[in-house]
Each structure stands twice: as structure tokens, then as C-alpha cells.
């Protein structure tokens, strides 16, 4: 059905502009009130969530006119869903889903972005969204980890492309493995057999490639016998937990982000962060762990004829309410010496790091621009460091800090936990 299934939602847009801002009750002044990186950077209404659904509705009706400007609009969106959260404070309508379907349609119609095509060509060849130098499992050398493709494990740790291949971020995989080892968890990795979750391909609009990856992954999970999958990457988390479920591929697999898993281990006393880590931090909610980490709601139904936009059976909207917000914060609070100060835009109305939707590949300048805005916000809290829970955010923040010359430090949550153990 694609975009067509969201015709009614798109036609509901009242052009109120709420999707450009964080929810009104949370606006705390003239700074940090904007929610959508795309309209904030490019200013034409078309770049906002509302503008996008207006275009979608009109093109469904009048035909698709793929101009260069349209493609600029399409590929300069982080697909981060901040628009949908703000809209859904008041409106009952889907916003991100039609935006996603529009992008999928662009790809299906052959109107792709050359930089994204290149990334996807890499994925098809190597199973990774980043240049694959060396072997995927090299990071685990010397750690003596179980190979989940050969041995049965309780927990499968899905590392992700960036953490596996990027030498600067392999430390996150190693930290995660050490934490799980310390907690005595029966876990394994797929090592060189691991392949991309497909989540980023999906955000970029390459639905078929996503499905291909999803099927490969689920076959591998089945073989490993693991009932629980833990990821350290927010994209991977959303892919396994939400997107696979959306396409009925997840089955009964339990998917946890490493921050949720560590939180659970701390709560049940298995892990005890004892060493002091004297650091004032602020926490960045990765979009796909936070508002977009909310479980998929399976629903089919019909609009009830009449005065209202209501459905039979009633439709439950995913409004960002049930994202993963507290576990990473609880983990930070449990580390002695860590002082957490919040930014203005947090949790369901968090500002994206910039890398979503493939923008880091399709428009590196816009990607960095977005990350720099976040760094400004983090600095405004007075914190020494920004902590996140996704390697893509960490990489982006490091680059933004390097460019802006700030002294802010960046950590993934597992790095701080490792220090505290």
C-alpha cells in the first residue's frame, strides 16, 4: 500500500507548525525551541514534517514531479521523528510513516541519492554500511568470546557496522564485551558472520535491502538459539525491535539496548559500578533508542464514516511516549561521581545528532551543522561531557567538537560503566 495508506493522515495536516518546535509546554525560551533539523536549516516550509506530508498528499493526488528541489527536500531529513512527536501532542495522525513511505517510493522510482547509492552498493557487497576494512570480528581479538553461530548462547550481542569496523569506535564493542563478561552473562557474538541490521538502509529508503538484511539476521538468530539480542547501537536496536516487528520478522526475540541490559544487571545486583568517575555529564537521547525505540503497534482497521478521523478498531498512535528514556539515565546515576544535568531538548523531543536518515552520507555539512547545534546545547548545561548510547551519535559529536574547537568530551554510556567497574 505504501504512501497510499497514509492519504487520510496526510490530509489531516492543519499546517499549524507544531512539528517545527518541541512541544509547546516544554519551550523554555528563545533558545533550543526548534525540534526539526531540516526546517531549521533550510527554512522553507517544505522541509518540515507538515510540509512533507502536504507534498505527499498533493503528489498522491496530482502525480509525482521529481524535481531536484524535491529530492533535496527528501534526502535532507534525518527521519528522526521529532515532527511526529510534536504533532501527536494534539493531532491523531501519522507524520513520520508517510515521510518514510515517500522516501521508499523515491528509491523504488529510481530517484536515489548518489551518495546513498554508494553506501548501499557497499552494503550489498560487504554487509556493512561503512567501508569494510579488515574483518568484521577483528575487534574481538584476544577477548575469548563465544561464537554464537557455532555455540548456543543465552544472549546474542549484535555489535553493528560502525562499532565493528571503525577503529575509533571498536572500543565500544570491547567495553560492552568486558561488561557482559564481568556480569557473567552467557553471551556470544556472530563475529565475521555478523551482518548489518538493515536499519539505516531502511531510513535511507532502500526497503528491499533492509528486508534482505532482516531475513539474514533472523535466520542467524534462530540458528544461535539466543532468546535475547542486545545491541549497542540505537539504529540496530530500532531495526531489531521495531522494524523487524513491523514486517512480522521478529518473532518472540527479546531485543534490548545495552543500556537497558546494564540497567537490569545493576538492578538485580549482578553489576556494581563502584569506582568513582568524577564527571559532570549531560545525556543525549539517540532518536532510535528514545522516541523511535517505541514498540511497533500492529493495527489494521478502517476509518469510521462520519464527522471524525477515528477508526474501527481504535488506532493506537506511537507518540514517543514509550521510548527508552530512563534506563540509560538510571545507569548514569548509578555511577559514583557522575553528575547528570539535562539539556532543554530531551527524551521524546530530543534534537537529533544529525546522522539519521543517511544525512551523514548524503549531506555531511548539514549533518555536522545539526551535530554542532546539539553540542551548543550540551555546552549550555555546563557539563564537561556529553554521553550518548549510539556510536553514530558519538562519531558525529566528536566531529562537531573537532570543527568547533570546543573542549567538551564525548562518551558512550558503556565507556563510563567500564570505567566504574
Amino acid at each position: 500500500m505504501g504512501l497510499e495508506q497514509y492519504k487520510g493522515d496526510m490530509e489531516m495536516c492543519c499546517r499549524c507548525s507544531a512539528c517545527k518546535f518541541i512541544p509547546m509546554q516544554k519551550v523554555n525560551g528563545s533558545q533550543f525551541s526548534y525540534a526539526c533539523p531540516s526546517i531549521s536549516r533550510y527554512n522553507f516550509h517544505s522541509y518540515s514534517g507538515g510540509g512533507r506530508v502536504n507534498i505527499g498528499a498533493a503528489m498522491l493526488k496530482n502525480g509525482f514531479n521529481y524535481t531536484d528541489k524535491l529530492l533535496h527536500i527528501v534526502y535532507n531529513c534525518q527521519m528522526d521523528g521529532a515532527c511526529g512527536v510534536s504533532c501527536n501532542y494534539a493531532m491523531d495522525m501519522e507524520v513520520l510513516q508517510p515521510i518514510q513511505e515517500f522516501r521508499i517510493k523515491c528509491v523504488q522510482d529510481g530517484h536515489t541519492h548518489p551518495a546513498l547509492d554508494k553506501v548501499i552498493a557497499g552494503l550489498r557487497k560487504t554487509g556493512a554500511m561503512v567501508p569494510a576494512q579488515g574483518k568484521r570480528g577483528d575487534w574481538a581479538a584476544g577477548l575469548d568470546l563465544k561464537d554464537a553461530t557455532k555455540e548456543k548462547v543465552d544472549v546474542l550481542y549484535h555489535v553493528g557496522c560502525l562499532t565493528s569496523y571503525d577503529k575509533d569506535y571498536q572500543k565500544l564493542a570491547r567495553a560492552t564485551a568486558k561488561i557482559l563478561q564481568k556480569a557473567g552473562v552467557d553471551f556470544g557474538i556472530a563475529g565475521n558472520t555478523e551482518t548489518c541490521c538493515g536499519g539505516r538502509a531502511y531510513q535511507m529508503g532502500y526497503e528491499a535491502d533492509f528486508l534482505n538484511q532482516a531475513k539474514k539476521n533472523m535466520a542467524m538468530v534462530k540458528k544461535s538459539g539466543a532468546k535475547t539480542l542486545v545491541t549497542g547501537c540505537a539504529d540496530g536496536y530500532q531495526a531489531f525491535k521495531v522494524l523487524y516487528d513491523k514486517y512480522d520478522l521478529k518473532g518472540s526475540l527479546k531485543v534490548l539496548h545495552i543500556s537497558e541490559y546494564i540497567d537490569k544487571l545493576i538492578r538485580d545486583g549482578t553489576l556494581k559500578p563502584r569506582k568513582k568517575v568524577n564527571l559532570s555529564v549531560t545525556y543525549h537521547d539517540p532518536c532510535r533508542l528514545g522516541r523511535l525505540g517505541e514498540s511497533w503497534v500492529h493495527w489494521t482497521g478502517k476509518k469510521v464514516p462520519g464527522d471524525k478521523f477515528v477508526f474501527d478498531p481504535p488506532k493506537e498512535y506511537r507518540r514517543g511516549t514509550k521510548g527508552v528514556y530512563e534506563p540509560p539515565r538510571d545507569v548514569l546515576r548509578s555511577i559514583p561521581g557522575v553528575k547528570l544535568t539535562e539539556m532543554t531538548r530531551i527524551k521524546e523531543y530530543s534534537w537529533c545528532c544529525g546522522a539519521g536518515g543517511g544525512v551523514n552520507d548524503s549531506n555531511p555539512d548539514f549533518n555536522l551543522w545539526t551535530a554542532k547545534k546539539r553540542i551548543e546545547e550540551a555546552i549550555s548545561t555546563g557539563a564537561e561531557a556529553i554521553v550518548t548510547a549510539c556510536p553514530w551519535c558519538e562519531k558525529n559529536f566528536n566531529e562537531a567538537i573537532k570543527e568547533s574547537g570546543s573542549g567538551l568530551k564525548v562518551y558512550d554510556i558503556v565507556e563510563l560503566v567500564e570505567k566504574a567497574l
Binding site: 487520510g8 490530509e11 489531516m12 492543519c14 499546517r15 499549524c16 507548525s17 507544531a18 518546535f21 512541544p23 509547546m24 509546554q25 516544554k26 519551550v27 523554555n28 525560551g29 528563545s30 525551541s33 533550510y42 527554512n43 522553507f44 516550509h45 517544505s46 518540515s48 507538515g50 510540509g51 512533507r52 502536504n54 507534498i55 498528499a57 498533493a58 503528489m59 514531479n65 524535481t67 531536484d68 528541489k69 524535491l70 527536500i73 512527536v85 510534536s86 501527536n88 501532542y89 494534539a90 493531532m91 491523531d92 462520519g306 464527522d307 471524525k308 478521523f309 477515528v310 481504535p314 498512535y317 507518540r319 514517543g320 511516549t321 514509550k322 528514556y325 527524551k347 521524546e348 523531543y349
Partner: protein, 489 residues
């Protein structure tokens, strides 16, 4: 009508390549209107240069702030003022704030609350521009409409920069009428279609004392935000009355006593919409509240400057309400509901729930005047809604009206909605018919409904203002480049 390459280039030279676009792909997002181009000026000088080019090439233009209420002719140039988004000054001593067009009310209000100040926010909501005039929930305290515009920086339709009021003779923004030129009647154009020719580029807004917290303690996740506590010396209640007359008696007395920070004549349907997070919940809540109310009512916020002041205001409120046979709605006494309703009705952040959420569209007839009389008219308009409700064309809100007084007085705004699904052609036609009929009735009964149609019809009843207005517009816009917009602002 596309711009020639040469003319496009002239405009582009003013705003830069990134800030002008005539690509057909963007037009559906701008009201589905084929504009000649959309431009994003970044400051007054750029606005002026664009306006001058429009005059040079005899091209019509209209500006927008957030653009919620635009209805514009095809082929014109749309000036989207989004990049002009700075709060220029908050003058605490003289109690005014100077803003550019794309400062939204929510941003300004948050800055003001930190300083113990507030300003008039239009009922449309805090997502709209702070600069444009209008009426809103806090009119009792913050007055409304043109009363709140002080000095203004205005680019005339010919591209002159005019600074009105105190700004005309000094660097100060404290007055709209002098020392310096007062152009109040033109700049606010308090007559239909209520749209000023040219472009406001900065305006000073009058500020008022805010006795509440620097920030509401909002917790929870969207869409269910609540307050962690009711701020000290504040209270919100909804009272229903046995009759319209009794309600009016209480409203007048409360105005005389000057104790309400806000008195908003919500009906039960609007309270239900405000406090619920989806349409289904809304419907259930409306049925519940409908059973709880004894008749028409209003919502009140009391805000004390001290514990003593709060106690006094509460006592007076109780006495006046009980003398009029008023009853407090138990549902709103629940601190969770009281808190969020209080926050939403100060931060004006749920108007979309009240208007667009159910069906996607609403039509309304707002009328200004003496509240007890306009309410009588509105009861008739409500009765006229009943057949539409029965046929399932519009949302069942009990046919109710709403409204509020201004400056604690007997004058104010009364309004009545029809919420419907615009894709339902029969419903749309029925609602339009209702609006036409009831507006005509208002006119016949000597009420001023701002949805009243052609100026040629109503002008003669209003000292032929329309002829004077047109003469004025011709004088300030000889090239006819600044057409009327389609909005009540």
C-alpha cells in the same frame, strides 16, 4: 505566473540563492498555491529591498509569520518571514518586548515568565507569531488585540521604512501613538479583512505582571504531560451554572472584583478536548463532563501575588460563584487535570486539540461585543447546529458556544465552532451554509461577526468605512502590490 530569469535573479541577489525558490515541488506545502516564488528575507533591509523590487516589477506580495492562517491568491510572491526570529529586547522596566515576526508566542512567553512577566497570546496558540494582534485566553489580564501593539517598524507597500509611535522620534518603543506618528488605524486595520498592507518587521508588545512560576513544572511524556505540583498561590476551576443569566451574573461580578487571572468561557466539549490525548478519549470525557455540568460555564485561573492575596481571591471567587448558583466541576478539581489545564490555558498549547483533532477542519463565527448579548446570538447559532449534529456532519459538542471578556469588563468575544471532516463534501457544504446563515443573522441583529462577507455589504452599515479604507490603501500602495490576505489578524 513564473518570474523571468532576470527578475528572479534580482530577487535572488537580495536574499541569496538559498532563500528563494520557485520550484513547483515546494508549492503544495505552501497552501497548494502556485506562487511566483517564495522568499525568505533575513532582516528589515532585505524586506525593504524585496518590496521595492515588487513595486519596480508591479508584482503582488504577501508576508507570513508562521503562516497558519494564510489564504493567498495565485501568482503572488510569498515572503516567508521565518528567518526573522529574534527577540530584540525585553524591557522589564517599561514593560514591553520587541520582537521580529517569527518569534513564536511560546518562546517569548517562556522568556517573560522567567522575569515575572506575560503578554497577550492569541487563542490560536503559542505556535503562532507573538507579533500579530488578536484575542486570547488571558484577555482579562492582558487585554487583547491592538491594545497591545506599541511602536512598530513597518515596511510600507512602497518600500519605505516607517517607525511609528515613540520610535518615530526616539529609539524607544514604549508607545504606539507618540511622540511620533501614530498610524494605529492603518497598521491594525481593525476592520475586515483585518490585514495590514506592507510588512511589520518589528513590533513592541505590551507586557503584564505574571504572578505565577518562572516555569511550569511539566513532567511526563507527550501527549500526557502533567504538573508535578500546582504552583503556589494558583488554582484552576471550571464552574457550571443553572442558566446563561446566572453565568453572566457571575462573569460580570468577577470582572468587577478583578480577581481572575483568566476567565475563559470554555464549554464542556473544549475542556474535554484539552485534557484528553486522542479522539476516542475525548468522546468519553465529553460524555462524562456533559453529565457533570448543570448548564453553561466558564474556566477560571486564580493567581495570587502572595498567600494572603490568593486567599482573598479564592474567597471572593467562592462567594460570587455560590451567589450565582455555580458548581465546581469535580473532574477539574483532580490536581492532575487542574494542573495540565492550568498550564495549557496559560501556555495556550491545546487549541489544536479543540479545533483540528477530531475531523481535520473547523469553521467558526467569532463575534465581538457585549457578552450577554452576543451569548444570546450564539445560543441561536448553537440551535442551528443541531440538525448538522443529527446528520453526523459535525462533531457533537452539545451545540455549545464559548468566549471570554476583555479587561475584566462586559465586552468580549463570543465564538461558536463546527468541527467536521473536510473530505466529506456534504458535511463541508452544510457547515458553510450554517456559517453563512448565522453570520447574516448576526449582521441583521446588529452584531459584528468578523467572518462577515463582502465589505460592500457591511461597509454602508459602518460609516462607509470601506470606501475610506480603499482610498487609504490606494494612497499607500499606488502600484497595488500588497493585496488583502485572507485572514483575520
Amino acid at each position: 505566473m513564473a518570474l523571468s530569469k532576470e527578475v528572479y535573479k534580482e530577487f535572488e541577489d537580495v536574499v541569496g540563492e538559498e532563500n528563494i525558490c520557485d520550484d513547483p515541488a515546494i508549492m503544495p506545502s505552501y497552501y497548494n498555491t502556485e506562487f511566483a516564488a517564495v522568499m525568505l528575507p533575513g532582516n528589515t533591509a532585505e524586506v525593504q529591498a524585496l518590496v521595492r523590487l515588487c513595486n519596480k516589477h508591479k508584482l503582488k506580495f504577501r508576508p507570513i509569520c508562521t503562516g497558519w492562517s494564510g489564504m493567498f491568491p495565485k501568482g503572488i510572491i510569498l515572503m516567508d518571514l521565518r528567518r526573522m526570529n529574534h527577540i530584540i529586547e525585553i524591557n522589564e522596566k517599561n514593560m514591553y518586548a520587541v520582537v521580529e515576526p517569527y518569534v513564536i508566542s511560546s518562546e517569548l512567553q517562556a522568556e517573560l515568565m522567567k522575569r515575572g512577566l506575560n503578554f497577550c497570546i492569541k487563542g490560536a496558540g503559542t505556535t503562532c507569531s507573538a507579533m500579530l494582534r488578536g484575542h486570547g485566553h488571558m484577555d482579562q489580564t492582558t487585554s487583547g488585540d491592538d491594545r497591545n501593539h506599541l511602536a512598530i517598524e513597518w515596511v510600507t507597500p512602497e518600500g519605505e521604512i516607517v517607525r511609528t509611535g515613540a520610535l518615530g522620534s526616539s529609539d524607544e518603543w514604549f508607545s504606539g501613538d507618540g511622540p511620533g506618528p501614530s498610524l494605529r488605524s492603518i497598521l491594525t486595520s481593525a476592520v475586515p479583512p483585518g490585514v495590514t498592507p506592507g510588512v511589520f518587521t518589528k513590533a513592541a508588545l505590551k507586557l503584564y505582571h505574571w504572578p505565577g512560576p518562572a516555569k511550569f513544572p511539566v513532567v511526563g511524556h507527550s501527549p500526557k504531560y502533567v504538573l508535578s505540583e500546582i504552583p503556589p498561590n494558583m488554582m484552576a476551576r471550571y464552574f457550571s451554572f443553572p442558566s446563561v443569566e446566572k453565568m453572566w451574573q457571575a462573569e460580570l461580578k468577577l470582572g468587577e472584583a478583578e480577581i481572575c487571572y483568566e476567565l475563559m468561557g470554555f464549554n464542556a466539549a473544549m475542556v474535554a478536548a484539552n485534557i484528553t490525548t486522542c479522539n476516542e478519549e475525548d468522546e468519553k470525557m465529553f460524555n462524562r463532563l456533559n453529565k457533570e455540568v448543570q448548564g453553561p460555564g466558564f474556566f477560571v485561573i486564580i493567581a495570587g501575588n502572595s498567600a494572603e492575596d490568593f486567599t482573598y481571591k479564592k474567597k471572593v471567587l467562592e462567594k460570587i460563584v455560590s451567589d450565582a448558583g455555580g458548581k465546581s466541576l469535580k473532574t477539574v478539581e483532580d490536581p492532575e487535570i487542574e494542573g495540565i489545564l492550568m498550564c495549557q490555558c496559560i501556555r495556550i498549547s491545546a487549541s489544536i486539540r479543540e479545533t483540528f483533532r477530531p475531523g481535520g477542519a473547523f469553521n467558526s463565527i467569532p463575534i465581538m461585543g457585549q457578552r450577554d448579548l452576543t451569548i444570546k446570538w450564539a445560543i441561536g447559532a448553537g440551535k442551528a447546529k443541531e440538525p448538522l449534529i443529527k446528520k453526523g456532519y459535525i462533531v457533537d459538542d452539545g451545540g455549545a458556544f464559548f468566549g471570554w471578556g476583555v479587561e475584566q469588563g462586559h465586552l468580549g468575544k463570543t465564538e461558536i465552532f463546527c468541527k467536521f471532516d473536510p473530505r466529506n463534501a456534504e458535511a463541508k457544504a452544510a457547515v458553510e451554509g450554517w456559517q453563512k446563515e448565522q453570520t447574516a443573522r448576526a449582521f441583521k441583529e446588529h452584531y459584528f461577526a468578523s467572518t462577515m462577507g463582502p465589505q460592500d455589504e457591511i461597509g454602508p452599515a459602518l460609516s462607509n468605512y470601506h470606501l475610506w479604507w480603499r482610498k487609504l490603501v490606494r494612497a499607500i500602495d499606488p502600484n497595488g502590490v500588497s493585496p488583502e490576505g485572507g485572514s483575520l489578524v
